[in-house]
Symmetry: C2
Subunit: 357 residues, 2 copies
């Protein structure tokens, strides 16, 4: 740990909590690995990052994050292969994206060497928290919060960049039904929809609760201007298979540039599947559902990996999706996981080995 100890201050736990965790019955996001990273921004600079035992921290009630939602996050996963090697998946993408999100939220960008030193050190210390086996992973949550005290509506002068980790199984276990939005919206042109800004998520809870009451687990968001164009599902990008062609919406300032999304585009093309990145209307989706050319819808995201969608409602009409043989969603999920778990060649250079010694 010579190279990272120059970069980080490390204080290890006295005793791991790992024995208290039932890995067979994980409630996602309820158990945290032993260590976390905390790095303070003050006096105009990111200070030396600290690796500490995971635990509560003190905040004043006037901390800006509580009042103005100046906060961004990322989601990543570490995977363990059959030889107990630990792998990350395209971590540079997450690093780049958290800084893109930060910039839009007027948060100072974070240094790359701090980010990777923290990741490597956390995964080395908490390597036992990465369980092998299909669908198992250590979910990694980098996030940044405005920590200055002050209730005036202006950017914070102090921040905390933190990384916490929690063991995860597959996020959505069963197929989901979705509701196509025709009233509520997720983001505006010129807004923060492309960023993983905290407030984008809280703002979806109420419309999602309403969808839940109607029997739908998720919402497919449409553009806020016309509700004509299909966008994303809030925690997932979306793919539509019409006949044998895969269609996904282009990213924009309203749509998150998902790492899983772009990986699936590459993987599908690599497997010879035609992918169109273009705007797709609700009307086209409904027509394709009615004439039978709509074969699949699935969501992609780090937490969800690939979520199968079994049907959607739009304008009070429910459209069931057909059950098909050898669906793309399953093929791509396997293709992706084979790379993530180091079970297959990685022609794309996506895997990132974490050095454990």
């Amino acid at each position: 740990m010579h190279s990272t100890s120059d970069i980080l201050d490390i204080r290890q736990v006295e005793k791991s909590k790992i024995d208290q965790v039932d890995f067979d019955n994980l409630a996602f996001g309820k158990n945290y690995a032993d260590h976390m990273m905390v790095c303070d921004y003050k006096d105009g600079a990111w200070q030396k990052p600290k690796i500490l035992p995971y635990g509560p921290m003190e905040f004043e009630p006037s901390a800006k994050v509580f009042h103005y939602g100046q906060a961004v996050f990322e989601g990543m996963k570490a995977f363990k292969d059959e030889n107990n090697k630990v792998w990350l998946f395209r971590p540079e993408e997450n690093f780049n994206r958290i800084n893109i999100s930060s910039k839009r939220m007027a948060i100072p960008e974070f240094p790359k060497d701090y980010f990777f030193a923290a990741l490597e050190t956390l995964l080395k210390l908490d390597e036992k928290w990465v369980h092998p086996g299909d669908g198992n992973s250590l979910y990694i949550r980098p996030f940044v919060i405005a920590s200055e005290n002050g209730v005036s509506a202006s950017p914070s002068n102090e921040y905390k960049f933190m990384i916490i980790c929690c063991p995860a199984k597959a996020y959505y276990n069963s197929p989901v039904k979705v509701l196509v939005a025709d009233h509520y919206s997720r983001s505006a042109d010129g807004g923060v929809g492309f960023a993983k800004a905290a407030g984008n998520y809280g703002a979806q809870f109420y419309p999602t609760n309403l969808a839940n009451e109607k029997g739908y687990q998720q919402i497919i968001w449409t553009d806020s201007n016309s509700h004509k164009y299909l966008e994303e599902a809030g925690t997932m990008n979306l793919f539509f298979r019409i006949n044998d062609k895969l269609i996904t919406a282009p990213t924009s300032d309203r749509i998150l540039d998902g790492v899983t999304r772009k990986s699936i585009i590459d993987l599908a093309r690599h497997q010879g599947v035609e992918v169109e990145v273009r705007k797709i209307t609700v009307e086209e989706l409904v027509s394709a559902a009615v004439d039978g050319s709509l074969k699949e819808i699935f969501g992609t995201g780090t937490a969800a990996t690939i979520a199968f969608i079994e049907g959607f409602e739009y304008a009070d009409k429910y459209h069931d999706l057909p059950q098909i043989e050898n669906p793309y969603s399953l093929r791509f999920k396997k293709g992706l996981q084979d790379i993530q778990y180091n079970r297959a060649e990685d022609p794309f250079g996506w895997r990132y080995e974490v050095k454990l010694d």
Copy 2:
């Protein structure tokens, strides 16, 4: 304090910090009154509210407010008159609005008796923090944050409703120059713009920084679809005086239903000024600036009270506003403050006396 002690648990400070505060040189939002209110929501109910010494609190790094911005707030002021009586201004409006905001953010609504018992008790204990004199007030910040630990993107099962207070002088002391938005947006149709949701504010910091670099203190937001319609300034609603007529945009799901805004509408009409609540385009504003019929622009909000705008930029052209005699902004500010400080009749029933004994 008989009636409130049934409702609240009270723990007072041992020694007030008020001697440490320089009331002549207040940095807004940097000094907090001695006490705060904290009320926990858990097991499906708001628990007994507590009045405690203001101070730091422990949060786990996984608390949902840090990740999903599930948080709302209010802004209120208490005023002291020449007889040392303390007054609130239309507190019921703020109570109603925080619950409207909470509902949109999937936060449970707060009981009215808790809210008013907490306000009355805080103002009684911290009465000395309400300084008399024009422009002086005790700014009151009720807010609610999602406090459950968990990094899954779903509504929190635990919340904290808190009230903190800080002494304030007038928020914007000098006239401001504003930039009319033609790229960035504040809110979407079907979004959370009408709510005082935390993320609405953080999302404005970056575009506002860009405006600051061009010499503008604030942005006038336009609708995200077309950027044709004038909306609000992010922390203020806006009024435009064309000749002798006052125009303000109607509230919508994108625009905050400001308490000062609606008070100014009533006050202006009471003084015989014609007020049109209607959509107003950027084009109309620019035309009126060019032909000289635009007499005033001002912003209204609890923090700002009334902020005079001395000019605006749109499409790279700066439009200066004329200096006029006896402007509406000054008249209405005085009219409002005369009511707030108990210096005039209150035909509207807006004043709310805080019982200090």
